[in-house]
Symmetry: D2
Subunit: 136 residues, 4 copies
């Protein structure tokens, strides 16, 4: 299964080439990730406050195929990649909704970060189980 | 006296009209404010950590006259406006360095915020005195 | 009548004080403006391409009352203020949806900009009439 | 040889975890790339206007090791990786200047884009030769 999230391109997301700035695709993916967790009853804030854990990215990759422009609505598709006790990989694709063209694809690898020791730690089982249930 | 800060327009600051997005002028002014404090031996972080005080904006205003573009270097000019025990106003102008054209001008009003009670409080005298010495 | 637009606070919108950075409220208002035009069958791009007109801001003002945080959903309320042939003012309020607390309020004044001469020009009547119908 | 560029962390670059948002490291790298070209007498704008060519990213990758915070000054180190007629790879590292700690490293691969046909094209030899002279 996949998680799917739609977002319009905002004017401020574009640059002087009249296309979305490449760094902003990572922001669309993060919005999708936030909505995935929200749909599962989690937020980054809950993780910080209840578990004293953050889930920063240890790797981010994107390959760009075509440009998004103002006026486009984008679909961000999230899939679950390989997992370890401490890490979880999200594969993503971003498509232009109107014609389904693949604009870019890539992945994020997140890690559990203990906010007391500020060291890598296991991801909360509650989080990984819910994400796996939703995406596998 | 004034505080003057120069910054190039970054590609990511522009939008599909090929000019700097209007919200980014406020970011240039904040960069100038950060450098003003740095020149006086302060940072926002010091204020947060040493004084348990933050200095959020209570008002922000900008009037736009002409557009900045990628390739421009901008000069942000900061002046000190009226002060109260709890607030301080910065008047700013942003000019294109190459020809001195005024691109926009406006102001920010900052307030002391007690980070324990999260209520308005007096600005640290140490801060206001140093800023006044530098800008009056 | 008013135009109302809801948006979640994104993680990237927050800063190290754990609140939304003040410049981002202007971006929420712009998202609301984009959705207002979309609801009326317009986009900034249409204005640029069909009318050779842009509608940059000549003034932006915001007064901040309380902070938005990650996890909040915001409601942006837009009202139409005074109009001239060349300008249109939008008054806005941003509320926290959960409890209706007013977080900030302000205005934008937009102007017609002829993209050929790059000079101020009348706003397209088609735009102002539709906006007036929707907001008056 | 390498190209080295220093930048302070701006307040707006941080997020509610009190560290730099991961997408912003790509923006620091782009600032370094802009300054590299500026040092060689080029800008993105010149490429667009003189050569009718843009140089979008086709791949972006970053591995994160440690967090940058407000108050840090960062050093972005750029190296030239493999080249083809149409593409050029930049390897980058971002270090905290105060102690030299490696915060993240990764790469960008840029491609020549013909702005008339909007198709991949050879990078201008003038650009690649100057970059190679500076970085090899």
């Amino acid at each position: 299964m996949v998680f799917s999230f739609e977002t319009p391109v905002r004017w401020v997301d574009t640059d002087a080439l009249r296309v979305v700035h490449y760094s902003n695709y990572f922001r669309y993916v993060e919005a999708a990730e936030e909505e995935l967790y929200r749909s599962l009853g989690f937020t980054f804030k809950d993780l910080n406050e209840k578990y004293k854990i953050a889930i920063p990215r240890v790797e981010a990759f994107c390959q760009y195929k075509a440009a998004a422009r103002f006026g486009d609505t984008l679909a961000v598709i999230m899939r679950l990649g390989e997992r370890t006790e401490k890490t979880m990989k999200y594969d993503f694709e971003i498509l232009r909704k109107a014609d389904g063209e693949l604009l870019c694809h890539g992945y994020l690898r997140i890690i559990g970060l203990d906010l007391v020791s500020w060291k890598a730690t296991a991801l909360p089982v509650d989080l990984t189980r819910k994400v796996a249930n939703a995406l596998e």
